[in-house]
């Protein structure tokens, strides 16, 4: 290790408890691109993750607009059907793996050490790796658009035998998924070890912030399922090039096997995108209701039971492949059961608001918006869980509506809430409330205009993943397309507001800009200095905050 990398790795010194002054070592010497490429500081890495995620969100969003432009009227106007399928596939993969998941890892990186009173993440060097695997994998996906045959066009689920038919775009997608999986596993190890080992004195597991809990459970889920996905796509790869027949019926393979493996990964994956959102909202609502979170313990149990149940419901994505009646019934009952812990969570959030002294700054607006719309997504999920009803809905726009209510209004809205909530801590400046509120209301309205009509399209039977449609679906598609373009436009206001804040916003932020916030990150100055909690917070400080949170 060179001297330069050594000084860039300050946490090791901090761990040993050596006094480690700021100026003498010159950590800040790493400037320009070196600061970011060699980054091991959790805040820098968190920032990298968040910007990466936002650029992927814009890229994936542009593709969504490509889809919606084509679907504005019946007939083919912009794309050849092959390219349309590539757009849907890349949009799905990029949004899931490029936008939502890295955003949550970025938040965990930025906030967990601050909230737990730790100086950094447990494995700073690995943290650098887990981030820097992402850009190359994104690049592979983008490059795949330009290789012969184009990008993978089998949907984000990559079902064989269809996925065995594509050209090398598919192989690039497979490698990309491998890298993403590796990155997720490393990120998860870091999160788990940090949470389990580096909490400040007095903060037991049952007293740590909900965001830490949901991050912990999510990280376990990821470690459990990322290898499953890697296995599935590796089997695809060998079927494609090395003469195996895992999924090829001609050689005795079973195409449905892939679906079982994929969804054994894929269902927990949807909770990987939902649980951290639950954590964020559980931080925001108590703050702006000026009341402790209602039912902390049942929140923890509900999180854990959702995680466990998520492994037993995968086949509800496959009700139409033809299962025995008993299997159909088992998966239907298990799926319905998830409504119970999810309901407990929603009730707890509402009970937290009940009799509070609520104010509605932008983070709270997004949190309340989340509760409303996520509940709608949960209800449509309940409808889909009923196997016979799913016979009508499966692979129609009803499903598209359902998962966008949980992913856009769930994951994405919670992320917006989180950004506004912690932006003062990150930048040291207050964002413009006016612009923030505008962003919320704009997104709220156009989100619903985009996705609510899709329920009707699905009920009436419009299949998903089609570039052109029968005439009775015309009106709702036009409406959804208008909504999508407006929604997309709104996200540029968001970008503007964030940049405006970084440049000074509407003034300096105090250490704790929120009256009702009591977690540890609000005890450090704003902006959070490069190094924080080099000495752990005192037991009194920790307990003072816990008392305010009624823990």
């Amino acid at each position: 290790m060179t001297a330069a990398t050594d000084t860039l790795n300050p946490t090791q010194g901090d761990h040993a408890g050596e006094a480690h002054g700021h100026d003498d070592h010159g950590h800040h010497a790493a400037t320009g691109w070196r600061r970011w490429v060699y980054a091991t500081n959790h805040k820098d890495i968190g920032t990298l993750y968040l910007w990466f995620s936002f650029s992927m969100f814009i890229l994936g969003g542009t593709m969504a607009l490509g889809i919606r432009a084509e679907l504005f009227t019946p007939g083919l106007q912009f794309w050849q059907p092959e390219f349309f399928n590539q757009l849907t596939t890349l949009h799905g993969i990029i949004m899931v793996f490029g936008a939502i998941m890295p955003a949550f890892t970025g938040l965990a990186n930025w906030m967990l050490p601050l909230m737990l009173g730790a100086p950094d993440m447990a494995f700073a060097r690995m943290n650098n790796w887990s981030f820097w695997l992402l850009p190359p994998s994104a690049l592979l996906l983008v490059i795949s658009l330009f290789v012969p045959g184009g990008a993978a066009a089998g949907g984000w689920t990559l079902y064989p035998p269809l996925s065995l038919q594509f050209g090398m775009g598919m192989d690039l997608a497979i490698f990309s998924v491998h890298l993403l999986g590796l990155s997720s596993i490393m990120g998860s190890i870091n999160i788990i070890v940090t949470i389990l080992n580096m909490r400040s004195p007095g903060m037991t597991l049952m007293k740590m912030p909900m965001f830490a809990w949901t991050s912990l459970v999510t990280a376990y889920l990821l470690i459990a399922v990322a290898p499953v996905l890697a296995g599935a796509v590796t089997m695809l790869l060998t079927d494609r090039h090395f003469g195996t027949h895992f999924f090829k019926a001609v050689g005795g393979g079973d195409p449905v096997l892939f679906q079982h493996i994929f969804w054994f990964f894929g269902h927990p994956e949807v909770y990987i995108m939902a649980l951290p959102a639950f954590g964020i909202v559980s931080q925001i609502i108590p703050t702006f209701a000026r009341k402790p979170l209602f039912g902390y313990h049942s929140m923890v149990y509900a999180t854990a039971s959702i995680a466990i149940l998520s492994f037993m419901v995968w086949a509800h994505h496959m009700f139409s492949v033809g299962m025995p009646a008993t299997a159909q019934l088992f998966f239907m009952f298990m799926t319905m059961l998830i409504a119970v812990p999810t309901g407990v969570k929603v009730f707890n959030w509402i009970a937290t608001m009940w009799q509070g002294a609520m104010s509605f700054e932008t983070p709270m607006l997004f949190a309340v918006g989340f509760v409303c719309l996520f509940t709608v997504g949960g209800f449509s999920g309940l409808v889909l869980s009923i196997a016979p009803v799913d016979t009508q809905m499966h692979d129609t726009y009803y499903v598209v509506a359902h998962f966008h209510y949980v992913l856009v209004a769930g994951a994405l809205f919670s992320l917006f809430g989180a950004v506004y909530y912690w932006l003062p801590k990150w930048t040291g400046y207050m964002y413009s409330e006016k612009m923030g509120k505008f962003h919320f209301w704009w997104s709220m309205v156009w989100f619903n205009v985009t996705f609510f009509p899709m329920h009707f399209l699905g009920l009436a039977g419009m299949p998903r993943r089609i570039p052109d449609y029968p005439l009775q679906f015309t009106d709702f598609n036009a409406l959804a397309s208008v909504g999508a373009f407006c929604f997309g436009l709104g996200q540029l206001f968001f970008l503007y507001n964030v940049i405006h804040t970084i440049r000074g916003g509407v003034g300096k932020a105090p250490a704790n800009p929120w009256e009702g916030a009591h977690t540890l990150e609000w005890e450090v100055p704003s902006p959070a200095p490069h190094h924080t909690w080099e000495t752990p917070p005192s037991q009194e400080l920790v307990e003072k905050g816990l008392k305010e949170q009624a823990l």
Partner: protein
């Protein structure tokens, strides 16, 4: 289930009040199962609307009454075991009330016994093949909407018919009031055969046979689309079912059987080259042109046949790849000996390929072993 249906309607769910056929909600159910599904949906929606109003009522009451701006002081309670137990148990009970009728429908849906007619639907890229197993004939059912209506690339394109994208060259014909068992399978990738008005949707999986059933209650034409992403023309493989009276069905079956007999190839016939090429062209256009293009130019992952090594190389390799498939190319075992002989002969003597050789059905028969 009548009580639940009434409840469902009473809840005035948006989907029901607007009920204009096939636009805001399900197509009008035409079978018992489709009606059960629609009732189940109405019942669940009723429960959901009630819960929705209750839960959101509480939340919005709180949002309006308990705001700091109106001077409300926070009360710091944060736990109440009995409330928490209650709101775990009550939803669990509600779920049971939903699961019970749903389970009954699942069992009915899965019961394909005692069917009177059995039809096999085979998914191809990108059309459906139907085989009437009890009557010994079959045919292909393809999109009938002309390309000019679909392609708007240079402006508006041709005006679109009412049944744009939902019309086929030859629909599936079934008798009314008869339990029809649909077997599904596929030739290349997974497709899915579904007709919403009948409440059926069953994936068609290569190498496997799955089944579902329906018993249509009304004469008429009912439409659906392939519902599993199956590649380029996934949006262009409709399913059209024509329900006819039992007598009409008999007449129709008779006619089809006679046609089939007349069209059947004699496997022992020895063909002449130009005859074989002409026959091969129809086979090619029906099965191969979708990927390799009508002029053999190929595209994307699908190689060109014009000037290809296989089509201009040894006959055995050419026959092998058609029979057994490779990579994206499916195995075409399902075609008859005559069809395979014809299509290979056509490929070797078209698109500028000039091999001048040909296969006879008996050569294919021998190669199959």
């Amino acid at each position: 289930m009548r009580f639940q249906r009434a409840l469902g309607l009473a809840a005035l769910l948006p989907a029901c009040t607007f009920a204009i056929d096939g636009k805001y909600t399900f197509q009008t159910p035409q079978t018992l199962i489709a009606r059960d599904i629609s009732d189940l949906h109405a019942w669940i929606m009723a429960v959901i609307v009630v819960i929705f109003v209750a839960v959101f009522g509480v939340m919005f009451y709180s949002i309006f009454k308990h705001r700091k701006a109106s001077g409300h002081k926070a009360r710091h309670f944060h736990e109440n075991t009995s409330v928490e137990v209650l709101w775990t148990l009550i939803p669990a009970v509600i779920l049971v009330v939903m699961a019970w009728p749903a389970a009954k429908v699942v069992l009915a849906q899965k019961d394909t016994r005692d069917a009177e007619v059995t039809i096999k639907a085979t998914g191809y890229q990108w059309f459906w093949g139907y085989d009437y197993l009890d009557y010994g004939f079959g045919y292909k059912s393809k999109l009938a909407t002309p390309r000019e209506q679909i392609e708007n690339y240079k402006g508006q394109g041709a005006a679109k018919d009412t049944h744009y994208l939902l019309e086929v060259t030859e629909p599936l014909v079934v008798p009314i009031g008869t339990k029809v068992r649909m077997l599904t399978t596929a030739n290349d990738v997974i497709h899915s055969w579904g007709v919403p008005a009948f409440g059926v949707k069953q994936d068609a999986i290569p190498g496997f046979i799955r089944d579902t059933w329906f018993k249509a209650e009304k004469v008429g034409t009912f439409r659906g689309q392939c519902v599993e992403l199956c590649g380029r023309d996934h949006g262009f493989m409709p399913i059209v079912v024509q329900v006819v009276s039992k007598d009409d069905f008999k007449v129709w079956v008779d006619k089809k059987q006679k046609e089939a007999k007349a069209a059947a190839d004699d496997p022992n016939k020895v063909w002449k080259l130009d005859e074989m090429i002409a026959r091969g062209k129809t086979v090619y256009d029906a099965n191969c042109a979708a990927c390799h293009k009508a002029d053999g130019a190929g595209g994307g992952p699908f190689p060109a046949l014009a000037g290809s090594k296989i089509a201009n190389g040894p006959m055995a390799a050419h026959l092998g790849i058609v029979l057994h498939g490779k990579g994206a190319m499916p195995a075409w075992q399902g075609l008859s000996d005559t069809e395979i002989a014809a299509v290979i002969t056509y490929e070797r003597n078209s698109f500028g390929n000039k091999m001048g050789d040909m296969l006879q059905p008996k050569d294919v028969k021998a190669a199959r072993k």
